[in-house]
Amino acid sequence: MSGSMEFLLWTKGPLFDIALAIFAIGLMARLVEIFMLGRAHNYAEPRAHEWPAGLRTMLTRTIADPGTFKRAPFNVVVGWIWHIGFLTALLFFVPHVELIRSVLGFAWPALPNPLVDFATAITILALIATLVHRLTHPVKRHISTVEDYLVWAVVFMVVLTGYLAYHRLVEPYPLALGMHILSAEILLVILPFTKLTHIFTAFIARWYNGAAFGRKGVQS
């Protein structure tokens, strides 16, 4: 393929700027939209403080309650696997760490490549499993929208192209890397406008949930 290096530089340059700008605009708009709506003042006498309960729920919701785990083990386990795998690859792969350092001005230590590679492979398998589950489970099939499949496809493409690029299974490499960066840019662009916002808002949602239950004396 001719022009693969130009393609890579285009994805690394102007397109990345545009994607990140749309991401930042969209995400900030979403967050401001949410917070500016506010909550009505609550006159009911609280049983407990809402802040600590909200903060706890932000963390505890990560783990399913035993009953839910028993009723939907596939959902819980596969969801966990691919989220962890995805985050491992996203946040701890050396090139990604360097990218984060360049965009944010700071970063953290990376993980050894074989570990990230393993996590990525597992993520790909788990993502395929989630798609099969979405297509076959009656509830998931019923509630799924075009957006759900679109988001799946974009996330899958990001992981798959990353895997292909790392293993240099697509030649020339600049094309492989460019496709990976392009996929990631599509992900960034759609993130603030799709359910992918949950990456950020889930923690807000959990806090509100934990706070609402917490002030009534229940750790949700």
């Binding site: 949410i34 500016m36 709506l37 609550n42 006498e45 399913a64 839910t68 019923h142 406008f193």
Partner: protein, 421 residues
């Protein structure tokens, strides 16, 4: 004459959307786990009962009018509007197949409080004229007669006479300056009059000053169940007025789940001001008396007992340990259901489902989850502390030919009081 319209409904949806709602809808990933926590889905197997789907009308208003992307979609003509037809279709999903038990709010991995949003969505349903007839009738009776069942003071007066003659104690009525104002539910007065006798005995035993109010005896709030803050607020105002008239410092909500959440958590917000008194569930009061050593009991039930936690009391109000403390006082063979407390399963009748005759079939379907839980531990009797739950348990167990009597916890405590000299 004014009428309920789609426009009023949409305005109500808009008014209900707040920061938590926006955060919740932003976060849903369509994982479907909420269905795994919903007895209506689990026992019917119909995916249309997936909790998050029930909120679709509210979600659409949020997306269309409260998000940047929704506005852009609007410009492009891609918005999916909320229509009257849609709301008509959703009426069953929002009322018949949801008891607002809040179990989905506990398990949603992104932390969505779905029950909170169901409550909000019902506001728009009422304003647009899509509330079920059974609940409309109950709300109308509550406003007009003071009781959702149309019960009047004179009926209660008869019950009071019975209690007084069988216990030899006086039931205080309109006693100004008493510590507690006791509220009742119509269902209790009709189905479980033993409750009134039980608290009369216990309060006498513990030396508590209390009173009923002729001005307002009803604790339940049909406005909360149908989902309308105007009606709900009016009903709360009646309680507040009675409590203020009698200058009590504490108000006791009876063995009724939604009555407690209505007056304890929603009430002050409905009337827009804090109360001049505090609100307790009877179980909270009894446990406080127990802890203070003011309840002396003798003897214990020796049969195998288990307990049903009412959703509104346990999961939605944090009263979980209190009833277990009280059980320990009077039962030696108590066994909890496997999933209990904040993770308990709904009996299927709450959230207005029991007042909605149309939902009878779904109500009994949802009960099967509770039935399976009961079968798992095979108790000889069930104990609970909510008249609606108790009625549902009795009806359900009978329908499945299970001979497991259901008793109220307050009565059981009353039976074991040490006789005074």
């Amino acid at each position: 004459m004014s009428e309920l319209t789609l426009e009023r409904g949409l305005a109500a949806f808009r008014a209900e959307i707040d920061a938590p709602t926006a955060a919740f809808f932003s976060s849903c990933v369509h994982c479907g786990l909420c269905a795994q926590s919903c007895p209506f889905y689990l026992e019917t197997g119909d995916p249309k009962y997936t909790p998050i789907l029930k909120l679709e009308p509210l979600r659409r208003v949020w997306e269309n009018e409260f998000t940047l992307w929704g506005r852009i979609k609007g410009r492009l003509g891609l918005q999916k509007p909320v229509t009257d037809e849609m709301l008509a279709e959703w009426e069953e999903l929002l009322y018949d197949s949801c008891s607002m038990c809040g179990r989905c709010s506990m398990v949603c991995p992104v932390g969505n409080d779905l029950a909170y949003m169901i409550r909000k969505t019902r506001e728009g349903m009422v304003q647009s004229g899509h509330a079920p007839e059974g609940l409309i009738a109950a709300a109308s009776r509550a406003i007009k007669t003071g009781s959702p069942m149309g019960l009047q003071w004179k009926t209660l007066a008869v019950q009071i006479q019975h209690v007084e003659s069988s216990s030899g104690l006086t039931v205080p009525v309109d006693q100004e300056g008493a510590e507690y104002l006791v509220l009742l539910s119509s269902m209790e007065i009709i189905n479980f009059p033993e409750y009134l006798e039980a608290i009369t005995k216990i309060f006498d035993h513990a030396g508590v000053t209390w009173t009923l109010s002729t001005q307002c005896f009803e604790a339940t709030n049909a406005g909360i169940q149908i989902g309308n803050k105007d009606i709900a607020a009016e009903l709360v105002e009646r309680v507040v007025a009675a409590a203020e008239t009698l200058r009590v410092s504490k108000v006791i909500s009876p063995e009724c789940g939604h009555a407690y959440t209505a007056i304890r958590w929603e009430g002050p917000n409905l009337i827009g001001r804090p109360y001049p008194f505090r609100v307790f569930h009877i179980i909270e009061v009894l446990d406080e008396l127990r802890a203070a050593g003011r309840i002396k009991t003798e003897g214990k039930e020796d049969d195998r007992l288990s307990m049903h936690d009412p959703c509104n009391l346990a999961r939605k109000s944090g009263v979980i340990q209190q009833q277990r403390n009280l059980m320990a006082l009077v039962a030696e063979n108590f066994v909890d259901l496997k999933e209990h407390g904040k993770y308990q399963w709904c009996c299927g009748a709450g959230g207005g489902v029991s007042s909605n005759e149309r939902a009878e079939e779904l109500k009994m379907a949802a009960f099967k989850r509770k039935k399976a839980q009961i079968e798992e531990v095979a108790p000889e009797r069930m104990v609970t502390m909510c008249a609606t739950c108790r009625t549902q348990l009795e009806e359900g167990l009978e329908a499945f030919n299970m001979e497991i009597p259901v008793v109220g916890l307050t009565e059981m405590i009353a039976e074991h009081l040490v006789e005074r000299d």
